[in-house]
């Protein structure tokens, strides 16, 4: 689990079954394991009122485990962007009592949280669990472009090409970490690039 360093750095918990009848799960890749681990502790019939939305990793694993939970609805999407319209639609029509569970990478949790916040769910009432890659979604503070799946420190902005120091400073509004130019004084200075967020 990602360690807490500065105040805006999100902290994640462990998914736990909440009371109520409607449960919406959004997970990617190994986030599926957070759901199946939680299922072991869930009361009987819990998944009868559950909808699971899943973005499988490149290896396509874990689909069967989730289907085995027999949720009321199971839906797969190739990417977060592709499930966004459906998610927005679900949340617009949802009522109080819907509980949200997010499992997987920080990028997935952050972006889903952002949509849910807009829909009126308080972030303290969402269940989150970080699983899998530590890859970050990063905003370049210079060109404002967002680069997905950043695993190195420093990282190159996919938009303007600047070499960025990936900070722990996190924006809930953007669901992204801030990347700040690491060699603004002298561009020829190239610090070694390390795998920091595997």
């Amino acid at each position: 689990m990602a360690a807490k360093s500065i105040i805006s750095r999100p902290v994640y918990g462990t998914l736990s079954p909440q009371p109520g009848k409607h449960h919406l799960f959004i997970a990617d890749a190994e986030g599926a394991l957070a759901i199946s681990d939680m299922a072991a502790r869930a009361p009987a019939g819990f998944f009868e009122g559950a909808e699971i939305v899943f973005i499988a990793g490149p290896d396509g694993k874990h689909v069967a485990e989730l289907e085995a939970l027999k949720p009321a609805q199971f839906h797969q999407a190739p990417s977060f962007a592709s499930l966004l319209p459906r998610l927005k639609q679900t949340l617009t029509n949802a009522h109080m009592g819907l509980r949200l569970y997010l499992g997987g990478t920080e990028g997935l949790i952050g972006q889903a949280m952002q949509v849910a916040l807009e829909a009126g769910i308080d972030h303290t009432s969402m269940q989150t669990e970080h699983r899998g890659s530590l890859a970050r979604r990063m905003q370049c503070v210079h060109c404002k472009g967002i680069t997905e799946n950043v695993t190195t420190q420093p990282a190159t902005c996919a938009h303007c090409g600047l070499l960025l120091l990936v900070r722990d400073h996190y924006s809930r509004r953007l669901a992204a970490f801030q990347g700040v130019c690491i060699n603004a004084e002298d561009r020829s200075e190239i610090p070694p690039m390390e795998e920091a967020f595997p």
């Binding site: 009371p19 109520g20 009522h95 109080m96 819907l98 303290t124």
Partner: protein, 321 residues
């Protein structure tokens, strides 16, 4: 002077009977200035000089927060209570000079909410008078469900209907009208916040149903004006001053401490705000914890007590303060 409860010198500018049980009181500042601004849901603590006794009761401000020329409260007469409401009804007349605390809000609106769903029972309507006025001024989205025993005891129901029309739903006990709570709670759009003020039974019912229907506790707000419960008299020693004082049947521990000349902090006098928390140094006997502040573990530990509502039965009790 207590923490957060700086006082205001006021004069009673009007006393208006509302129905057979409820009377409204208007206060203005004695110096003619505007009163401090407040937000919907705030209360003031009214000091009553009743002979050689000082009573301090909290009452919700029910006027519009947009008008601070005067404060208004509504007091329901409780003939079997400890006497504060009777004092207000019998002895408080226009022109009387009184002292009240600054407003404190322990029941404020969460203005991030997309919708505000309010449930009132009986005199629990008062904080909503101010909250609806505040929201209406801001174009806020709200809906108020109000239960009362009979139409004639539906305090301000007519005013509310007149002002807000269909946003107000009334339920009369004598006509067997009941809130369909589960349905109401299950059909609210995401982002709704729930507010409930009324008798303890109603608050517990609503909080309980909301929790089991999946409402996160962050979206459920409640105001509980628990009057201190009477009980057996007991003695208490205050370690700092070495004073030993007696708490009468009808008096709260906090009131007894105040009567002994000590000025402990308080805000709600109803066991919810945490302000009056006091350490227990030693005891021989049993606590009757009536507060909603301390955890069960705190209650069991015997290390802490909330003197505004809790009592004690036994041989000896020594408090830090």
């Amino acid at each position: 002077m207590s923490t957060g409860t700086t006082k205001l010198d006021v004069v009673v500018s009007d006393v208006v009977p509302v129905n057979e049980l409820v009377t409204r009181f208007h206060f203005r500042r004695r110096d003619g200035d505007l009163l401090p601004t407040f937000s919907g849901g705030a209360h003031v603590v009214v000091e009553m000089r009743d002979g050689d006794r000082t009573r301090l009761n909290p009452y919700s401000l029910m006027g519009s927060p947009l008008d601070t020329r005067e404060y208004t409260i509504s007091v329901r007469r409780d003939d079997v209570g400890r006497g504060g409401s009777l004092f207000m009804h019998r002895s408080v007349k226009p022109g009387l000079e009184m002292v009240i605390s600054y407003p404190v809000n322990l029941f404020s609106l969460d203005l991030r909410a997309k919708k505000h769903l309010m449930l009132a029972g009986g005199i629990g309507i008062t904080p909503f008078m101010a909250q609806t006025a505040q929201l209406a001024g801001e174009g806020g989205n709200f809906e108020l469900h109000y239960t009362c025993r009979t139409a004639s005891l539906g305090t301000y129901a007519d005013v509310l209907r007149e002002r807000y029309d269909r946003r107000i739903r009334l339920y009369h006990d004598d006509r067997e009208e009941r809130i369909d709570l589960d349905r109401l709670l299950s059909t609210q759009p995401l982002g709704t916040h729930l507010y409930v003020c009324g008798p303890a039974g109603m608050i517990n019912w609503v909080r309980d149903r909301a929790a089991s229907l999946g409402w996160p506790s962050e979206a459920v707000h409640f105001e509980h004006f628990a009057a201190p419960q009477p009980g057996l008299p007991f003695d208490v020693t205050l370690a700092v001053t070495g004073k030993t004082i007696r708490v009468d049947e009808q008096q709260s521990l906090l009131e007894a401490i105040e009567a002994a000349g000590v000025d402990p902090p308080y805000l709600c006098r109803g066991g919810v705000c945490g302000q009056c928390e006091t350490n227990v140094i030693s005891y021989d006997g049993k606590f009757i914890h009536n507060d909603h502040w301390l955890s069960e573990e705190d209650h069991r530990s015997g290390c802490k007590i909330m003197p505004c509502v809790s009592r004690f039965e036994g041989r000896s009790l020594v408090l830090e303060r």
